[in-house]
Each structure stands twice: as C-alpha cells, then as structure tokens.
C-alpha cells in the first residue's frame, strides 16, 4: 500500500496494464511528448515508445474512430479526451459505431475512453461538464465514474479488460485533491458494485464522482446533529448497482440522489424513478434530487459555486429529509 493521489492511481493503473498487456496503448491529444494535459501519461512515451503512446491530431473523431478500428483489429486502445466536454465531436463513432458494433456485427470493441470531467475550478462551459448521463442512455456503452484513488485504479484495470466500449469519467477536481492508500499490486473492481463510502441508516445519499466527497462532508455535518447518513458511491453508472441501492432504500427509507451533472434527464432521474417503481412501499419521504441547475457551467467562481452542489446545500437537503 502507498498513498497515491486520484491522478496517480489512474496513471499507475494505465502503466500497469500497458506493462502486462502488449495490446494496450494510449492515444490522444498531447498524451505523448507532453505527458497529457493533466500529466496522467507523463513518462509513458519514454517507457513504451511513440507507437504505444500516440499523439494525435486535434480530432476527437479521429481518436475514437482510430481506437475503434484498432480495437476491431485486436488491440486494447485507451483514448484520452483532453476534456470530457470534447467527446461530443466523437459522438458518431462512439454511439453509432462502437456502441452498436457488437449488436450489428458480433465483434467486440474493447476501447476505453478516458474523460477528464467535472468542474470546480472555473473551467467554464467547455471544460467543466459531466456528460455521463448522455452516454448512460446509449445501450452498448459502459459508464464508469470513480471517486477515490483505489477505485480509480481498480476500475481502470476493469475497463481495459472489458470487451465493451467503456467511458471512464475521471473527475478533474479530484486529481490532486484526493489521496488515499492504494494497493501496490494489480487488482480489478467489478462493474456494477456500489461501495458504501460512509455508513448510516437515517438517510441514504446515492451519488458518484466528486459528489461522493461533497456528500461525505455534508454527512459529517448531519452527524453532529445526530443524523447518520449513508453515502453510497455507485462507482459505475452502466451497469449500476440497483440491488444495492434498493436494499439501502429499504433500510433507510429516505433518499437523496445527488449528482454534479445538470438535473433534467440526469442519471439521478433514472435512480429516483427506479426507487419509486421498485421500493415505493419502503419510502418514508419523497425521493429528493440535488443536481446542478439546467444551464451551462458558469465561468465566474461565485456562479460556479452556486451551480455545483455544495456541502451546505446538500446538508440542507439531508436535514430536510431527516426532519420530514
């Protein structure tokens, strides 16, 4: 075990997979010589050479299209979008080709697309989004959203091993802020298994990504008031651990669904609807959602703070549920 940042954990996992599997290679904008915009692949080109750490033109279409072709030919590409926001340029290759190839032709497309996502540092509307729900809606894609260094490592290893296209959303605000003990050896974390980040049985928070930490801080606030909040980190949205969520709903009976993505059509809506459908008789309060408002991410720091759910707001929501 050693203490690693979230970013280091991602880097470690990638390096490890490249060392153990010749088919794994990375491609993206500035991933080679520069070591990646956030330095996840720093030193990779020196170790693995320019053919396995490929700098590409500024074309997300080419990156995902190329990765899809390489995967069809038997390789295990890990593509990096410099910012998750830019994946919209690769929508067609990802959604029309990669996601459907197995259904159309029976051939697997084992690609991983790394998506530095999320806000919290005044990145503005093009560099702060959390577009996971858009892709969660596309059958054929898997969606991973780790929140801790150990999960980041284990889930990236699983993503690379997975025979399907996997979107790996890594939250930029967690990169260097979140540190934890991470096993040194290789391990994988299966998809679809939620993790209890904090135990409690008064109110349940279902969340993922950076909001896990926001929820945990808010839960500490509530603990001072005698309310024990459980924070359940979904870790993967597709597949998501419905059984675990429902089990915890049955226990806690009051639920907050929290995400940093905007509210309408966010993945939280799916969770809330599922709870209403399948655990209605276990609810002791309406399912509550806290999410970003339906606007682009504002640039101005005070506005961005108002936009992204904050500890105080989440604590207030939890309090409301606790008192209901």
């Amino acid at each position: 075990m050693s203490e690693r940042t979230y970013l280091q954990a991602i880097s470690d996992a990638l390096r490890e997979e490249m060392r153990r599997d010749q088919r794994v290679f990375v491609l993206g904008e500035d991933v080679g010589v520069y070591g990646g915009a956030f330095k996840v692949t720093l030193g990779f080109q020196e170790e693995f050479g320019p053919w396995r750490v490929m700098d590409t033109p500024l074309s997300e279409t080419a990156i995902v299209g190329g990765a899809t072709g390489a995967a069809l030919m038997g390789l295990r590409p890990v593509a990096e979008m410099q910012f998750a926001d830019f994946i919209s340029c690769a929508w067609d290759h990802l959604v029309t080709v990669a996601a459907k190839q197995h259904f159309r032709g029976g051939t697997a497309v084992p690609i991983v697309v790394r998506l530095p996502s999320g806000g919290g540092f005044s990145g503005g509307p093009f560099h702060s989004q959390n577009p996971e729900s858009s892709f969660a809606h596309i059958p054929g894609l898997k969606v991973v959203c780790p929140s801790t260094p150990p999960d980041a490592k284990g889930l990236l290893a699983s993503a690379i091993a997975d025979p399907n296209p996997v979107l790996y959303f890594e939250h930029k605000h967690l990169y260097r802020r979140i540190k934890a003990e991470v096993p040194d050896e290789r391990y994988t974390i299966p998809f679809g298994e939620a993790r209890v980040h904090r135990e409690g049985d008064d109110v349940l928070v279902v969340t993922w990504g950076a909001m896990v930490h926001t929820a945990a801080e808010a839960a500490e606030e509530l603990a001072k008031e005698g309310v024990e909040v459980e924070v359940l980190d979904l870790r993967t949205l597709i597949p998501w651990d419905k059984e675990r969520v429902l089990e915890d709903v049955r226990r806690c009976s009051k639920v907050l669904v929290l995400h940093e993505d905007t509210r309408t059509g966010g993945f939280g809506a799916e969770i809330a609807a599922t709870i209403a459908e399948e655990a209605f008789e276990h609810l002791d309060a309406p399912v509550k959602r806290i999410a970003a408002p339906d606007t682009p991410v504002p640039f101005s720091p005070p506005l961005e703070k108002a936009f992204i759910p904050q500890v105080e707001g989440v604590a207030a929501g939890l309090r409301e549920l606790a008192e209901y």
Partner: protein, 522 residues
C-alpha cells in the same frame, strides 16, 4: 369519525331517472387544495357527462371512488377537509365513539364549520368557505389516541408497516413534519409493544347515510389491517400492497356493520372497471379486444332498445327544395356572424319552421302517458349531438323553442351543442324534450330511420342538401328541368299516436314553410 369538519362529496343526482354515475376523472388528487365550486371531478351518467364542482373550499383529504368506478347517486366519493387538513386516516378504532347513530351524524355544534347533512347533494350546500384548521385538530383530539397526528400524510413505508402489524397509523405519536408518523415512529411504537393490543372496535363506524349508499372503501394510502374483518380489500391504488398477514383481513368487501338494504347495489368495486349490468362477457378470443362500456353507451343502448320496444316506429320522407333557405342563409349568415357571432345553419331554419308547424300538430309534439295523450302549449326541442370523440350521442334540449326566432334558435343550438361537446351541460338541459331533430346528413346521407327519443312521439331527420335536376314550371307554366338544392326530411313517428296521414300533412306543411318563407317569417 374524522369527518366532523370534512365536507362529503357525493355522487350527484344528475336527473330524476339517473341512479348511478361513473367517475371518469379526478381533477384534484388527495392533498390538493381546492376552491369552492372549482371542478373536482368529471362524471359520466347515462344522461350527461359533466364536471362536479367542489362543495367546499379546502383540501381533498380522501378519494373514495376511483376513476372508472360506477357508484350509486348519493354515495360519498370524496372528502374535503379545511385548509391545512391532510389525507385522512381511517377512523381511530380504539376509542369508543360517542354515538354511532347514523341519524345524527353532523354534530355541527362541535365545530364552527357547518356540516351539512350527508343526504343532500353537496353541490347544493355551502359550508363556510374558510374553515379554520383548528376544528380538524379538535376533532382528531376527540379520539384520545389520535392526538396530534390525525391530519398528516402517511408515507408508503409507514402504511406498509402499519398494515403488516395491524396498526392504525393515527394511533402512533408522530414526530415528523406537522406531526407526521415517520418510519422510526411506527417502528418504535411496535417495539414498545403498544401495537400488540389492537383496538377491539372491529367495525368502522357506520357511514352517515348507510341506507343510501354502501360505505366507501377505506382511504387509499393506508390499507387498514386492524383485526377487523370489516375492512374492504386494499384499494386499487396499491395493487402491490402485501396482504396483511392475518387471514381474516383478506376479507369480505362488504363491511359487516351496516347491512345494505335489500335493493342496494353492490358496493363500489375497488377495481376501476365500471359495473356492467349484464353478466360479464367471457375473455376475448384471439384478435378481439374488449373495452368497457361507458355509462353513456350503456344509457344509449338501453334507451334505443326501450324505444323500439315501446313505440311503433314508422318513417315518412319528403323532399324539400331548399333554394329559398339557401338564398336566405347566404344573406343572413355573414350578418349573423358579424353582429351576433352565430353561425346560422340549415338546421336552424328547419328547427324554426318545424316549431311553427308543430303548433298545428300537437300530437306530433305530444306523448302517450299511460292511457292519456299529452299535448303541450310549448315545444322543447331536442337536438341530437354527436360528441367529439365519436363515441356518444347526447340530446340537449332547447326549452320553449316556440318563443325563439331564427336567431334565437341558432344561438341556442350553437350554445348547447358546444356545451354538450365540452361536457358542460346541466342535467336539466338534457331532459324534458318534446320533439327531437337529428341531423345525420352531415356526412352526405340522404335518408335514415332515426329512433324516437322516449317518451316523445316523433323525431325529425334532416339529411344532406344535394343539387338535383328538378322539374319546375317556367313563367309560361311549362315544365322545365332546373338544378335545385334538395334536402330529404324524414319524420319517424310513433304510429300508436300519429297516423301516416297526419305525419304526411305535417311534412307537407313543413315543406311549404321552408319553400316559401321569407326573412320576415323566420
């Protein structure tokens, strides 16, 4: 009984012969606030489809009959509580209620809110608009164990736990918002052992008017599971609700307490299927589909059959040269539209001429009533109106049509036809017709044999105006063929009362008016 300050909403009497109504739509749900006279629900009876206004201002605390359910007139279908009230609990069973005598339910002296007698249709009553919230609370306190939480929402999980343990949620002290019983509250209550001594009061209190209406099912949110066998099956709103463990609670749908009078209809079924009078059809075979008959369709079916069984239907037809009416209409239409906003149709002309003609033929505007022939000094003119969805027919009545000129008739027809389609007719407006006009010609048909609207003696059918080669005489008295707009009219009459010659003369006179009347005559 928790209805001390609640206003009961009953299935209104929508006409003398109407005995039941089907709830087609609740416009307000439990917990929603409603103003007095604000539409609360839509009902469908065999006479009329209409909205039912709320008899009081406040909050809908209980809905006792679901959409699709057919209930007898006078059945309590909802409760309106004062502002601030919450969905009602089942009556606390563990407190002996003062006097469960159904005769003196209102107990108005207990509360400032005036409780009207349940037998009256609520549309006719007016409890004070702004009932203060206190009375509800006070009423809740009348039952000792319900203090403080008798008026809040019961969450699904609390309802389920209550049901599984046979607890009345109202008997649990609540600590949630507004005294709501939380999951923790009810679990603590069970842990404390308080729930192991359930109330002996098995039967719910008799409803205020047991003779008039079967007791409603329990409120939707909380399936009551006290050892009472006298509990209706879980409401349809919660199909997945686990049955209470005790076998006897899966029990007779009919409360034991007030035995229904022998002629009472069966209690409202919890399932949203309207009661069909005949025996139920077997399951559809492959390729067939079933849809439930609406109250209106059943009413039409019954009436059509009964009419043919009653009257000796005979139809006579006549051809009318509508040239003059066409010309007049061409002239009057823009004028009426501009100055009165009314579209004057051929039907208005025919109605006007028919009313005038009926004055000379009182039997055609008459009725056989037992061994008497009824004639009248007035004409209440019914118009068959097809409803917008093509799934029904209603015959609104223009009263005292003999007092109306063409403009008045055109206005009246436009108004009642529109309100028929909007389901805004009042019960009186579909009753008391003395003669009916039906216009199946809208789609080009030129002949038909309508069915008489009972107990009338005749029905006039109007058909498409069609241009035809027509033999007329020129100024020299020579026959020539001209192109004329021709309309067929039929009179279908009850041959018991109206002879063919009489009908023929009526049609002849009607034709004469339509072919000769000028503007001043209308």
């Amino acid at each position: 009984m928790s209805t001390g300050t609640q206003t009961e909403v009953v299935m209104p009497q929508m006409g003398v012969s109407v005995s039941e109504g089907t709830i087609t739509k609740w416009l307000k749900q439990v917990g929603e606030t409603i103003g007095r006279d604000e539409p609360l629900l839509e009902i469908s009876t065999d006479k009329v489809d209409t909205e039912v206004p709320s008899p009081a201002e406040g909050v809908v605390t209980q809905i006792l009959a679901q959409e699709g359910e057919t209930v007898e007139v006078g059945t309590v279908i909802a409760l309106i509580g004062p502002e601030g009230a919450q969905p009602a609990q089942p009556a606390p069973q563990d407190a002996p209620t003062p006097e469960p005598t159904p005769a003196e339910q209102p107990r108005a002296e207990q509360t400032p809110a005036e409780q009207p007698p349940a037998e009256q249709p609520p549309v006719a009553q007016a409890p004070p608009a702004q009932a203060p919230p206190e009375p509800a609370h006070a009423a809740a306190q009348a039952a000792p164990s319900a203090a403080g939480n008798g008026k809040t929402f019961v969450s699904p999980v609390v309802a389920r736990i209550a049901s599984e343990h046979g607890i009345d949620p109202a008997s649990v002290p609540g600590t949630g918002t507004g005294g709501r019983v939380t999951k923790k509250d009810i679990l603590a209550f069970i842990d404390s052992g308080a729930a192991t001594a359930p109330a002996p009061a098995a039967a719910p209190e008799p409803m205020p008017a047991p003779a008039a209406a079967p007791p409603p099912p329990p409120p939707a949110p909380e399936p009551e599971a006290a050892p009472a066998t006298a509990v209706a099956p879980p409401p349809a709103a919660e199909p997945a609700a686990p049955r209470p463990p005790a076998a006897e609670t899966v029990a007779p749908p009919q409360p034991a307490a007030p035995p229904p009078p022998p002629d009472a209809a069966p209690p409202p079924a919890p399932a949203p299927a309207p009661a069909v009078p005949a025996e139920r059809a077997a399951e559809p075979v492959a390729g067939e589909m079933f849809e439930p008959m609406t109250a209106m369709r059943r009413g039409i079916a019954e009436h059509m059959r009964r009419s043919l069984d009653t009257s000796a239907h005979v139809t006579s037809a006549i051809e009318i040269d509508m040239s003059r009416v066409v010309e007049l209409r061409k002239k009057l239409k823009p004028e009426y539209e501009r100055t009165h906003g009314v579209n004057v149709t051929y039907l208005s002309f025919i109605a006007r001429a028919a009313v005038e003609t009926l004055k000379d033929y009182p039997w055609i505007n008459g009725e056989i009533r037992a061994d008497q022939i009824v004639t009248r000094s007035y004409v209440n003119l019914g118009f068959a109106v097809e409803l917008a969805d093509g799934k029904g027919l209603i015959v609104p009545v223009l009263r005292n049509a003999e007092t109306l000129n063409l403009l008045g008739i055109a206005k009246g027809v436009t108004d009642i036809a529109q309100r028929a389609r909007d389901k805004k007719l009042l019960p009186d407006e579909v009753q008391g017709g003395t003669f009916t006009i039906t216009n199946p010609g809208g789609y080009g048909t030129i002949h038909g044999t309508p069915v008489i609207s009972q107990p009338q003696a005749a029905i006039l059918g109007t058909y498409a105006v069609v241009k035809r080669p027509w033999v007329v005489q020129d100024e020299m008295g020579q026959d020539v063929i001209a192109i004329r707009p021709i309309m067929n009219l039929t009179l279908t009459y009850d041959h018991r009362l109206v002879d063919g010659a009489l009908a023929g003369r009526f049609l002849r006179d009607l034709r004469k008016r339509l072919q000769t009347w000028d503007e001043s005559a209308y």
